[in-house]
C-alpha cells in the first residue's frame, strides 16, 4: 500500500515540496498515525522541510488518519492582520492564528485531531522515550519540564517515540511511536539549544499564547524506527525544581495508575479496555517521582534506571 520511501523530506527540492504541499499533499508518517497536509501558505513548506527533514517521502494517495489543510485567512484577513486557518477534513474546529505562526497552528491542530480520533489506542498525555527495548513514560503536567527532559533524553542516546502522546496498544500495553517535532517553550528552547547544539531546530515563534515556541526536529534514527513498539518499563513523574539537584522517589503503583488515567486523552472513553491496558502497563513498570535541576544528572540516572529495570516482577 505505501510506496517505498525514495528519500527523506529534507532531501527534496524545495520547489518539489512546495508543489506537493499545494497539490495532493505532503505526508507526515508519525508511526502510529499518518497525516496528509495540504497548504498553499508559502512559508510553511520551508519550515516543514526543517522539522520533518528525516521523515520519509511518501505518496499522498491512499488512506490517512487525517487530512489537514492550512490556508490563508479569507477576505480582509488576507491582508489586514493576516491569519492562517486550519481545516480538518473540511471542518474548522479551531480559531485562526496570526499568519506568522503557521507551524504552531499546524502542530497543535494535528495533535488535537490525533487526540480525538485515535481511539483504537489508549492515548496518554505523556512523553515517551526508549532504550534497549524498554520505554520510559513521562506524564505531562504543567511545569513538569517534560518536554525539556524528553528532548534532552532524545538527544543523548534514547529513541524518541513522542513528546506528547503515550500511545498504548490495547492488546499488550506496548508503547507505539507518535513521532512529532518536540515543542519547546521560552527558556527551554535555549536550554535544549545549549544541550544539543547540533540538533535541528525549527524557527522561533515569539508571540504565541504560550510565549515563544520552537520545535526540535526528530532525528533520523528515531524516524526510521517509528513503527517499532517498546515495552513499558518505567513511569517518571518529572518536576523541574531549582532547589533539588536530583531526587528519585518511588511512587505507589496504584497512585501512578490514577495519575496516568486522569492525564490521558481518552481513558474514560475506552472504559474496560483502558482499565485493562493501563493496569497491565503499570504492572510492568517501576514508577517514580523525579525532582531535578541538573539535566545532565537526570539523563544519566534515567539511563541507568532503564538498563537496570527488570521486566519480570
Amino acid at each position: 500500500m505505501k510506496p517505498e520511501p525514495r528519500a527523506r523530506i529534507g532531501e527534496l527540492d524545495p520547489a518539489e515540496l512546495r508543489g506537493a504541499l499545494a497539490g495532493r499533499g505532503l505526508v507526515l508518517d508519525c508511526g502510529a498515525a499518518r497525516i496528509r497536509v495540504r497548504s498553499d501558505v508559502a512559508p510553511l513548506a520551508g519550515m516543514l522541510q526543517t522539522l520533518y527533514a528525516a521523515y520519509p517521502v511518501q505518496g499522498a494517495d491512499g488512506v490517512f488518519d487525517a487530512t489537514v489543510r492550512m490556508h490563508r485567512g479569507r477576505g480582509v484577513r488576507r491582508v489586514f492582520r493576516p491569519q492562517v486557518e486550519l481545516l480538518v477534513d473540511g471542518e474548522r474546529p479551531f480559531e485562526p492564528f496570526p499568519a506568522d505562526t503557521p507551524v504552531p497552528l499546524l502542530e497543535w491542530g494535528i495533535n488535537y485531531t490525533i487526540a480525538t480520533r485515535l481511539n483504537n489506542f489508549l492515548l496518554l498525555h505523556a512523553g515517551v522515550v526508549e532504550r534497549d527495548g524498554r520505554a520510559i513514560v513521562l506524564p505531562a503536567l504543567p511545569g513538569s519540564g517534560k518536554s525539556t527532559l524528553t528532548a534532552a533524553l532524545a538527544t543523548r542516546g534514547f529513541r524518541l517515540l513522542s513528546d506528547e502522546f503515550g500511545v498504548v496498544r490495547l492488546a499488550d500495553s506496548h508503547l507505539l511511536p507518535m513521532l512529532r517535532p518536540v515543542a519547546l517553550k521560552n527558556e527551554s528552547i535555549d536550554i535544549v539549544g545549549r544541550w544539543a547544539p547540533d540538533a535541528a531546530m525549527g524557527p522561533r515563534f515569539p508571540k504565541t499564547r504560550k510565549g515563544t515556541v520552537a520545535h526540535l526536529a526528530p532525528d533520523a534514527a528515531s524516524v526510521d524506527r517509528r513503527n517499532q513498539s517498546a515495552r513499558p518499563a518505567v513511569v517518571i513523574f518529572p518536576r523541574f525544581d531549582a532547589g533539588t539537584e536530583f531526587e528519585l522517589t518511588p511512587v505507589m503503583r496504584s497512585r501512578a495508575f490514577a495519575r496516568l488515567a486522569v492525564n490521558s486523552f481518552n481513558y474514560e472513553l475506552l472504559g474496560p479496555d483502558s482499565f485493562d491496558a493501563l493496569t497491565r502497563l503499570i504492572g510492568l513498570s517501576d514508577c517514580f517521582e523525579l525532582r531535578y535541576r541538573s539535566l545532565e544528572r537526570a539523563v544519566d540516572e534515567l539511563g541507568k534506571l532503564v538498563a537496570k529495570s527488570d521486566p519480570i516482577h
Binding site: 500500500m1 494517495d61 487530512t67 477534513d89 474548522r92 480559531e95 497552528l105 483504537n120 479496555d273
Partner: protein, 376 residues
C-alpha cells in the same frame, strides 16, 4: 424532485453504496476508502458504517489505517451507548412512581429495544416523553434528584415551555448525556398535530424496565416527522439512515401488517407528507424496498406540487455531508437555511414566528457568538 443517487457527488454515492451493501467495501481501492471514511465521518455515520461492515468481516481484518478508523469509531459508539444506558437506568428509578408511561424516543428507544440500527450510532442525548399532565411532577422529581436545567434565560425557558413540545435540556452530575423531556413528538402549535393520546395508547412496554417505546408505525412516523418537519436537514443523512433502518427492521416479521398499519396511522396522525418525503428519499438513496401491495398507498402519500418539488430539491442538497476536500457549497448552505425557515414556519403560527425571530435577532447582538475552542 429528489436527485437520483447516480447524480449525487462521488463521496455521497460511495457512502450510500457502502451503507446499502457493506460487503461491497471489501473490493474498494485505497483512494475510495479514503473518500468513504472521510465522508462517513463528516456525516457522523462512521460508527454505523463500521457496524455494518463488521457484520461481514472482522474490523481487525482490514489493513491499517482503515481498520483503526473503523475500530475507533465503534469504540466511540460503544462509549456513548454506555452513557445512554446509565442515564436511562437512573431516570427509570427516579421516575418509577410517576403517573405516566415513560416513553423513550429515538436513539434511547432503539438501544432499549435492541434494534440493530442502534449499533454504531452516536447519541448525544436521551429523549423521554411523558403525559403533559405529568410533566410538572416529572420535572420536580428530576430536579429533586439532582437534575438541573442548562443555564437558559427567561426567554428560552418560556419558549420551551409555552411553544415547544419539550422542556429545556437537563443535565445531572455523573451523567454525560442530556435529558430532553417531551410531552409530544412535534411542536404543539405547529401545523401538524399528531394524536398524542394515540401515541401513548399504542406504546409498547420494554420488558423488564419501567419504559415503553412508540409502536413500530409511530416510531417510523416520528423519525420521518423529525427529519422532514422539525429540522433544517443540514447534514442529517444519519436521520434518513435511521428511518430506513427502522422500516426494514419493523417490516421484516410481517411486512403486510406493518405497511398497512404505517399508512393508516400516517393518515390518523396527519403525517403523510413527512412520511412521503422520507420514503421517497429512502427508496431513491438507500434502496428501501417497498412491497407491491404498499406501493399504491405509498404513491398516494407521495408529496406533490411545487412545494414538494422545492423540499425535495432543498433536502437533496442539504442532507448529505459536504465534500471533505472542499467546504459546503453556498447553494447547500442556502438550502439548509431555507429548510430551517420552513421548519420554523411549520413549528409556530405566523404571529409568534415574527416575535421569535425578532427576539433571536436582539439576543444575537447582546450575547457574544459561540466560538470554537481556542488554541492553548
Amino acid at each position: 424532485m429528489i436527485p437520483a443517487r447516480e447524480r449525487l457527488p462521488g463521496h455521497v454515492r460511495l457512502l450510500l453504496d457502502a451503507l446499502v451493501d457493506a460487503s461491497g467495501c471489501a473490493s474498494l481501492g485505497d483512494d475510495q476508502w479514503d473518500v468513504l471514511i472521510r465522508a462517513a465521518r463528516a456525516a457522523r455515520l462512521l460508527g454505523v458504517l463500521a457496524a455494518r461492515i463488521g457484520r461481514h468481516a472482522p474490523l481487525e481484518s482490514f489493513p491499517e489505517p482503515i481498520g483503526r478508523h473503523l475500530l475507533a469509531a465503534s469504540k466511540v459508539a460503544r462509549f456513548r451507548r454506555s452513557k445512554v444506558e446509565l442515564l436511562v437506568d437512573a431516570v427509570g428509578r427516579q421516575l418509577s412512581k410517576l403517573d405516566s408511561p415513560l416513553v423513550l424516543l429515538k436513539g434511547g428507544a432503539y438501544l432499549a429495544q435492541g434494534l440493530r440500527l442502534a449499533e454504531g450510532r452516536l447519541p448525544a442525548d436521551v429523549d423521554l416523553m411523558v403525559r403533559r399532565t405529568s410533566l410538572d411532577a416529572a420535572e420536580q422529581t428530576l430536579l429533586a434528584a439532582g437534575w438541573e436545567f442548562q443555564k437558559t434565560d427567561a426567554y428560552d425557558q418560556h419558549y420551551y415551555r409555552a411553544w415547544s413540545h419539550e422542556l429545556p435540556p437537563m443535565r445531572c452530575v455523573g451523567q454525560a448525556m442530556e435529558l430532553d423531556l417531551h410531552h409530544t413528538i412535534l411542536p404543539p402549535l405547529g401545523r401538524l398535530k399528531p394524536d398524542t393520546g394515540e401515541l401513548f395508547a399504542a406504546a409498547v412496554p420494554v420488558a423488564a424496565t419501567r419504559f415503553a417505546v412508540l409502536c413500530p408505525a409511530d416510531q417510523v412516523l416520528h423519525a420521518a416527522a423529525h427529519l422532514f418537519q422539525d429540522s433544517d436537514c443540514i447534514d442529517r443523512l444519519r436521520d434518513l439512515v435511521d428511518f430506513d433502518g427502522l422500516v426494514r427492521e419493523h417490516s421484516a416479521a410481517d411486512p403486510g401488517r406493518f405497511w398497512t398499519a404505517l399508512i393508516e396511522r400516517a393518515r390518523w396522525h396527519h403525517l403523510q407528507r413527512p412520511l412521503g418525503y422520507a420514503l421517497a428519499f429512502a427508496r431513491a438513496w438507500l434502496d428501501l424496498p417497498v412491497p407491491e401491495p404498499a406501493t399504491g398507498a405509498v404513491t398516494e402519500a407521495h408529496p406533490r406540487g411545487p412545494a414538494a418539488w422545492a423540499v425535495g430539491r432543498l433536502a437533496g442538497m442539504a442532507l448529505p455531508p459536504a465534500d471533505p476536500d472542499g467546504e459546503r457549497s453556498w447553494a447547500a448552505k442556502s438550502a439548509g437555511h431555507a429548510l430551517e425557515f420552513r421548519a420554523l414556519c411549520l413549528r409556530m403560527p405566523a404571529g409568534l414566528l415574527a416575535y421569535h425571530a425578532g427576539m433571536k435577532l436582539v439576543r444575537s447582538f447582546r450575547r457574544p457568538a459561540d466560538t470554537p475552542p481556542a488554541a492553548p
